[in-house]
C-alpha cells in the first residue's frame, strides 16, 4: 500500500496517476475492440439478400449479395494503360500506331476500325458502336461473347441451348441484338423475400451468370462454342499436359463426351471460363461459330483445321479475300487461351485468373479480384505470390519479353509488307493466277502467323518462345513469298 499512498499523497501525483490509468485503459479497450473486429471479420463470407436465377443477366442484383466481387467487376470501366495495351475512352486506333495493319487487312472490316482493348464493362457498348458492325453487316453470332446471351439461346431453342445458339447466330447482328433486348433480365423484386422476379427488357454485357452457377456460385462454362471446341480437342490426340482433366478423360472409358463442367478441375475452370471468349474462333456468316481446336491449339494445328474446313458450297475455309492480292486469307481473333496453352505458366498449373483476377485479402476473406486487368497493374498480388522479387525486377522481366516480341513483330510486319508489294508488282506485271497461286498460299500462311501474335493480347508474354517461333515462321514465309513473287514479276 505504500506505493498507492505515495501516488495519492499530493493532489498532482494523484491526478497524474489517475490520468495515466485512464489512458492505459482506453488503449487496452481500443486493442480489445480491434481484436474483436478482426475476429468478426472471420465470420460470414456473404449474406444472400436477394435471390438470383439463370435469367438474371443484369449483374446489379447479384451485387447485392456478392458486393465485394461486384464492386471490383464494376471497376473494369476504369481506364488503365500498360506499355502495349490501353483502355481509355474509345482507345487508340491500333491501326494508326501500326499502319501495316491496314495493308494486312485490306478489304476486311478490320481495316475500318481496329482499336486497343477496353475493360469488360465496355464489351457490349464498344461492339454496338464499332464501324465494323455499324458499317458492315455482321452476324448475330458476335453476341455469343459480347452479351449475356444464354437466356436468349434457351428461349430461341425452346430450352435447347445449342438450337438457340444456331438460330441466333444466323440472324443479322441488329435482329439478334433485338432478341437479346427482348429476352432482357429477370431481376428480384425489391423487398420480396420469397424469390419473386420481375422481367425487364435490355441487353447486358457478360456478367456474373455467365461464369457462375446462381445457386452455388460455382464456376461453370456456359458458351456452346467452348463446349464444342474443348470436346473436339479432347477427342484429338494432341498432348495437352496443362489440362490434366482432358488427359484423364482420354485414358478413361470415354462413354460420355468430355464436359468441362463435369470433368474439369477447379483450377482448370479458372482458365476455361476465360477461354469461352479469349480464343481463336470463326463466328460467321458462312458457317456456324466454331473454335478450330480439333487438331490442337498451336498456330499450325489451327491453320490445318481451317484448311480442312469446307463451307457449305464446298469452298475451302477463309475469312476474306485480300483486296490487294486476291489471296483467300485468315483473320486471327485473340488467341489468348491458345498461346497461354503453349507457355510455362500454363504448364505449371497457373490459371488465367491467378494473374488476371488474383486473390486478395478483404478482412479475413480471400477474394478473387473481379477487376479483370493486366497483371502489370497489380504486380504484388499477381506475381509476387509466386515470384518473391521486387516489383521493379518483375516488371523489367516482362518488359524485356514484350519488347523483344514487339521488335520481332515489327520485322515480321516489314517482311509481310514487302511480300504484299512484290505480289502486287507481280500481278501488275502480268503473272497469271496459276503461277501466283502458290505465292498466295505462302501469303495466307505468313500473315496468319503475324496476325496470330499481333491480335493476341499479351505481346508474347503468354508464351514467349512460342510467339518468337511463330514470328520467325512469319518472316520466313513472307520472304519466301516475296522471292517467289519477284521471280514472277517484271524483269
Amino acid at each position: 500500500m505504500s506505493i498507492l499512498s505515495a501516488l495519492t499523497r499530493s493532489r498532482w501525483s494523484f491526478a497524474a496517476t489517475a490520468l495515466a490509468c485512464a489512458v492505459a485503459m482506453a488503449l487496452v479497450a481500443a486493442l480489445l475492440t480491434s481484436i474483436f473486429e478482426r475476429k468478426l471479420e472471420a465470420r460470414n463470407p456473404y449474406v444472400r439478400l436477394v435471390e438470383v436465377s439463370e435469367e438474371t443477366t443484369d449483374s446489379a442484383p447479384w451485387g447485392m449479395n456478392w458486393s465485394r466481387e461486384y464492386d471490383d467487376y464494376r471497376r473494369t470501366v476504369d481506364s488503365t494503360r500498360t506499355r502495349f495495351g490501353g483502355s481509355e475512352a474509345l482507345p487508340e486506333q491500333k491501326i494508326e500506331r501500326d499502319p501495316w495493319l491496314e495493308r494486312l487487312f485490306a478489304g476486311y472490316a478490320f481495316a475500318l476500325d481496329y482499336r486497343d482493348r477496353r475493360g469488360h464493362a465496355y464489351m457490349l457498348s464498344d461492339q454496338e458502336m464499332t464501324k465494323r458492325v455499324t458499317e458492315r453487316p455482321q452476324p448475330g453470332a458476335c453476341l455469343h461473347c459480347h452479351a449475356s446471351v444464354m437466356p436468349t439461346y434457351r428461349r430461341m431453342g425452346a430450352g435447347d441451348v445449342f438450337a438457340g445458339f444456331e438460330a441466333l447466330g444466323k440472324l443479322s447482328y441488329a435482329d439478334a441484338h433485338a432478341e437479346v433486348v427482348a429476352t432482357g433480365t429477370s431481376n428480384p423484386v425489391a423487398g420480396a423475400t420469397g424469390g419473386e422476379f420481375a422481367h425487364a427488357p435490355g441487353a447486358f454485357a457478360l456478367g456474373c451468370v455467365d461464369c457462375h452457377d446462381p445457386r452455388s456460385m460455382e464456376l461453370r462454362v456456359t458458351r456452346p462454342g467452348f463446349l464444342r471446341g474443348i470436346r473436339a480437342l479432347a477427342e484429338s490426340d494432341e498432348p495437352v499436359p496443362h489440362l490434366p482433366s482432358v488427359e484423364a478423360w482420354r485414358s478413361g472409358p470415354r462413354k460420355e463426351a468430355y464436359d468441362p463442367n463435369v470433368d474439369g478441375t477447379r483450377q482448370e475452370m479458372r482458365s476455361f471460363v476465360c477461354g469461352q471468349c479469349h480464343v481463336e474462333y470463326y463466328c460467321g456468316p458462312k458457317a456456324t461459330l466454331f473454335f478450330p481446336w480439333e487438331r490442337g491449339l498451336r498456330v499450325e494445328e489451327i491453320e490445318a483445321t481451317y484448311d480442312a474446313t469446307r463451307f457449305e458450297d464446298g469452298h475451302r475455309f477463309f475469312d476474306w479475300k485480300h483486296a490487294e492480292t486476291g489471296a483467300e486469307v485468315l483473320k486471327a481473333q485473340h488467341p489468348e487461351f491458345e498461346l497461354w496453352s503453349q507457355g510455362i505458366h500454363a504448364r505449371s498449373g497457373v490459371a488465367c485468373a491467378d494473374c488476371h483476377m488474383p486473390y486478395k485479402r478483404v478482412g479475413a476473406l480471400k477474394v478473387s479480384d473481379h477487376w479483370v486487368r493486366s497483371p502489370l497493374l497489380n504486380i504484388s498480388r499477381a506475381c509476387q505470390v509466386c515470384h518473391p522479387y521486387p516489383e521493379a525486377e518483375i516488371e523489367a522481366r516482362v518488359t524485356a519479353i514484350q519488347e523483344r516480341t514487339h521488335a520481332l513483330m515489327q520485322r515480321a510486319a516489314a517482311a509481310v509488307t514487302d511480300m504484299l508489294d512484290a505480289l502486287v508488282a507481280a500481278q501488275s506485271g502480268g503473272a497469271g493466277d496459276g503461277a501466283l497461286a502458290p505465292v498466295r498460299e505462302l501469303q495466307r500462311a505468313a500473315q496468319w502467323r503475324l496476325d496470330f501474335v499481333a491480335a493476341e493480347n499479351s505481346m508474347g508474354f503468354h508464351a514467349p518462345a512460342e510467339a518468337a517461333r511463330i514470328l520467325a515462321e512469319a518472316i520466313d514465309l513472307a520472304r519466301q513469298a516475296e522471292l517467289a513473287a519477284r521471280l514472277l514479276g517484271p524483269r
Partner: protein, 152 residues
C-alpha cells in the same frame, strides 16, 4: 479528496485496468502464444492459407510452425518470439504490412538453419560454405512450397 478516497479511486482504476487487461489477454488468446501449437499461429486469420497448406503438406507430421520459424536454443528463441510477436501485433493491429507477406532477412536465416538442422548432413555438399551470406544457397529458393504454399 482525502487520502483514503484517493486511494479507493486509484485502486478501482488499477483494478479495472488489470481486469480489462486480463480479459483482453484472454480474448486475444494470449496464452496460446506460449505454446507450440500451430493453431496459435492462425489466431489471426492472416495465416489461414499457410496453415491449411502446411496441414496437407509433407512436413505436417514432422515439423510445426515453430520448428522451422524459431531458433531452438532458449535465449535466441525467446528473443525471436518477442521480436516477431511485436512486429506481428503491430502489423495486424495497424494493418500496415506488405501483401503478399515476404519473409524478413533475419527470419530467412533462422529458416535456413532449421532446414539444415534436419537435412544438413544430406546436403552438406551443396551448402558447405556460409549459409547466411547474402548469396548463399537457400533451400527454399527451390523447395519453395515444401513447408506450405500452393504447391507443396
Amino acid at each position: 479528496m482525502e487520502g483514503g478516497g484517493r486511494r479507493l479511486v486509484l485502486a478501482v482504476l488499477l483494478g479495472g485496468l488489470a481486469g480489462l487487461g486480463a480479459f483482453t489477454f484472454h480474448h486475444g488468446e494470449g496464452l496460446s502464444y506460449f505454446s507450440t501449437d500451430p493453431r496459435g499461429c492462425k489466431n489471426c486469420h492472416i495465416m489461414n492459407d499457410e496453415y491449411a497448406s502446411w496441414s496437407k503438406g509433407s512436413h505436417e507430421d514432422v515439423a510445426a510452425c515453430v520448428d522451422c520459424h524459431l531458433p531452438h536454443a532458449l535465449v535466441p528463441k525467446l528473443f525471436s518470439k518477442a521480436r516477431n510477436g511485436y512486429f506481428h501485433s503491430k502489423g495486424f493491429t495497424f494493418q500496415d504490412f506488405h501483401e503478399p507477406i515476404l519473409i524478413q532477412p533475419a527470419n530467412a536465416a533462422i529458416l535456413q538453419a532449421s532446414c539444415l538442422r534436419c537435412h544438413g548432413e544430406f546436403v552438406h555438399d551443396i551448402v558447405r560454405g556460409s549459409s547466411t551470406a547474402e548469396d548463399a544457397v537457400q533451400c527454399v529458393h527451390c523447395h519453395r512450397g515444401v513447408g506450405h504454399g500452393a504447391r507443396g
